[in-house]
């Protein structure tokens, strides 16, 4: 039993990280139709800011995370103000390439601003385990899982039940019609970029204790989050979250029972095969194009 439960709990932890990053990607995709390839590197940048504040200014972790939230929001505002909202005429590919350019800017800027030494970011709750039916889960793991699940649920609640959520959904379904209806779509887009930044930062802070904080530490998260969106489908907000947890579980079990080196790679190949049969993802609707 514990041979199934233990890796399952472990994967829920990474799944939460992927889910947060994927939520950022899908919110940006739905509101401004930009494939957000820089989600990982923006998360990396603000996550590195958290580690820097912690290691060099000596602030406690929760205050450092608050600083990280401010940095992430500022970055999201900056990107939308300076670049994205001036791109109304650019093609979809142009916008995609812009986010690729952003990756390079953030990866180049992080070592210049925060120094080239790799840093460590401690766990929120340093020690302590719970025994659950023969499997162990650390308190920090419980915290990570619940942060991921609660944020996802909170976001779904806001999207479905509040006026702001309605504005976001309206913008997502048609930017132009939403503007005609008096929805401040610019503000919605601005907010979604800031929100994506904060979600990326949280993902970075959650994954950081298991790795060292270097400019590339979010690369796996970025790939996994993109694939979570592909697997879950780009048409709903909850699809990518389901996709993220599925990816984490599948990767963990393949690593454990098939190959510790090639498990993750095998999982991506399986997703590709799956997409051959369900091109729009798990919860995708058929994509129609008007002439």
């Amino acid at each position: 039993m514990d041979q199934v439960l233990q890796p399952l709990l472990r994967s829920l932890e990474t799944g939460s990280v992927y889910a947060l990053a994927a939520l950022g990607i899908i919110i940006v995709w739905r509101t401004s139709l930009v494939m957000h390839f820089a989600q990982g590197s923006m998360g990396m940048f603000s996550g590195t800011a958290v580690a820097y504040v912690l290691n060099h200014w000596g602030l406690p972790l929760w205050q450092a995370v608050l600083v990280g939230v401010v940095v992430a929001i500022a970055l999201g505002f900056l990107v939308d103000f300076a670049v994205i909202r001036r791109l109304k005429r650019a093609t979809a590919v142009g916008k995609e390439i812009i986010t690729l350019g952003l990756i390079m800017v953030f990866l180049g800027a992080a070592p210049i601003i925060f120094g080239t030494d790799p840093m460590l970011l401690p766990k929120f709750i340093p020690s302590g385990d719970v025994s659950l039916g023969g499997a162990n889960l650390s308190y920090n793991g419980i915290l990570n899982i619940s942060v991921g699940v609660l944020i996802a649920l909170g976001l779904f609640f806001v999207l479905q039940k509040t006026k702001i959520g309605l504005a976001i959904r309206a913008t997502a379904s048609s930017d132009q019609t939403a503007r005609l209806m008096g929805i401040p779509t610019r503000r919605v887009t601005l907010m979604s970029w800031a929100l994506a930044g904060v979600l990326g930062m949280l993902a970075a802070v959650m994954i950081a204790p298991t790795v060292t904080v270097t400019p590339t530490f979010m690369n796996t998260v970025q790939v996994a989050a993109l694939f979570a969106c592909v697997l879950g489908g780009f048409q709903t907000f909850y699809g990518p979250v389901i996709g993220a947890y599925l990816i984490a579980v599948a990767a963990n079990f393949l690593k454990l029972y098939v190959s510790s080196v090639w498990g993750e790679q095998l999982m991506y190949l399986l997703i590709l095969v799956f997409l051959l049969f369900r091109p729009n993802g798990l919860i995708g609707k058929t994509y129609l194009q008007k002439v």
């Binding site: 590919v93 142009g94 995609e96 390439i97 390079m104 210049i112 790679q265 997409l275 729009n280």
Partner: protein, 350 residues
């Protein structure tokens, strides 16, 4: 790739010299000839060996960028797997030439064919779905290939790096200068092939696809086939560029073939200008050579390690925001005041 339009529509009364000047193939040949003279001229003029090396890499990256330009410029698709396919080409070339002793040509052939086959498989899966997926899937393929380069020790020597040596061609042992010439010749051939591709029947289909996919499909253009073709050509060029990279540098490390290289190649295409052949070479020069030759020599900021990334990243963003046509757009902007009269042969039957 629009450079040939004047040649086609030029009035027949014009002199041979001006016609040659406007002929795209003649332009490529002159450009290649100048490049081939560079090593010998350079040593006479005191060109540093390291500068020659940098320029050689510009030629190699230009080849990869030309393939991506075809893909991005005509099908509007982005591949993030360029570095992975280049790396695959490099390791295949090294394996066939040095480990199996099959020589230069077999190495290059394998470096072109095998990545193309892998690319076709990837393309068949991802292009059937939606264009946007190609970027994600190639990103993933690139990560898988990178992992393979690190793990598959019998093939790549892992992180220790694969060592190779200059190949012998037609019984002639090459060195750095002659490898530079080989790269220049390869680049000119690739430029000609690209030019012919986009001006043939294939090119018309690609053009139709670019202006409206739905309309092109209605006219009987098989979109999937041509997108797949553009992607296959891009991977073939990347494989060739990888093989040349290996023979030029004589070694290959897994860390070379990371995401940045792919992003840099995209930057070369964007900065150089979509669908412009000479622009792509200029873009490769700006993105690769300018940081190497100029930025690193600057007094204070020259030592900063992340500077080339920021340079390419900001250039990409600025170019897309203000000069969607890249270097070609900038060149037209500069040229416009001197070209008052409209193109004369525009209405003439071709």
């Amino acid at each position: 790739m629009t450079t040939a339009t004047p040649a086609r529509t030029a009035a027949p009364t014009k002199g041979l010299a001006s016609r040659l000047l406007h002929n795209a193939h003649a332009q490529f040949l002159v450009f290649g000839l100048l490049l081939c003279l560079l090593p010998s001229l350079g040593s006479a003029l005191g060109l540093k060996a390291s500068t020659l090396q940098t320029l050689g890499f510009v030629l190699i990256y230009s080849i990869a960028a030309l393939g991506l330009n075809l893909l991005l410029g005509y099908s509007g698709l982005v591949s993030l797997g360029t570095s992975g396919f280049m790396g695959l080409g490099a390791y295949l070339a090294a394996y066939l030439q040095d480990d199996l002793g099959l020589g230069f040509w077999c190495g290059v052939l394998a470096a072109v064919v095998i990545p193309t086959v892998v690319g076709l498989l990837v393309g068949v899966v991802s292009l059937r779905i939606r264009g946007i997926y190609l970027a994600i899937v190639t990103l993933c393929v690139s990560e898988i290939l990178l992992k393979t380069f690190e793990q598959l020790e019998w093939f790549t020597k892992g992180t220790a790096g694969k060592q190779s040596h200059y190949p012998s061609l037609f019984g002639f042992q090459t060195g750095r200068a002659s490898m530079f010439v080989v790269c220049a010749v390869a680049l000119v051939l690739v430029m000609m092939l690209t030019h012919n591709t986009v001006h043939g029947q294939l090119g018309r289909a690609l053009h139709a696809m670019r202006s409206s996919e739905v309309a092109a499909r209605a006219m009987g253009v098989n979109i999937l086939k041509y997108k797949l073709f553009a992607f296959a050509l891009a991977t073939a060029y990347a494989g060739l560029a990888g093989a040349l990279y290996l023979f030029f540098l004589k070694s290959s490390y897994p860390s070379t073939w990371n995401l940045f290289l792919s992003l840099n190649v995209i930057a070369m295409v964007v900065v150089g200008g979509l669908r412009s052949i000479f622009g792509t070479v200029a873009g490769a020069f700006i993105i690769f050579a300018v940081p190497e030759l100029v930025l690193k020599k600057l007094p204070v900021i020259g030592d900063v390690s992340g500077l080339p990334y920021i340079f390419s990243g900001i250039l990409i963003i600025l170019v897309i925001m203000f000069f969607p046509q890249g270097m070609k757009g900038v060149a037209d902007l500069v040229r416009r005041p001197f070209q008052r009269r409209p193109a004369s042969g525009k209405g003439a039957p071709a």
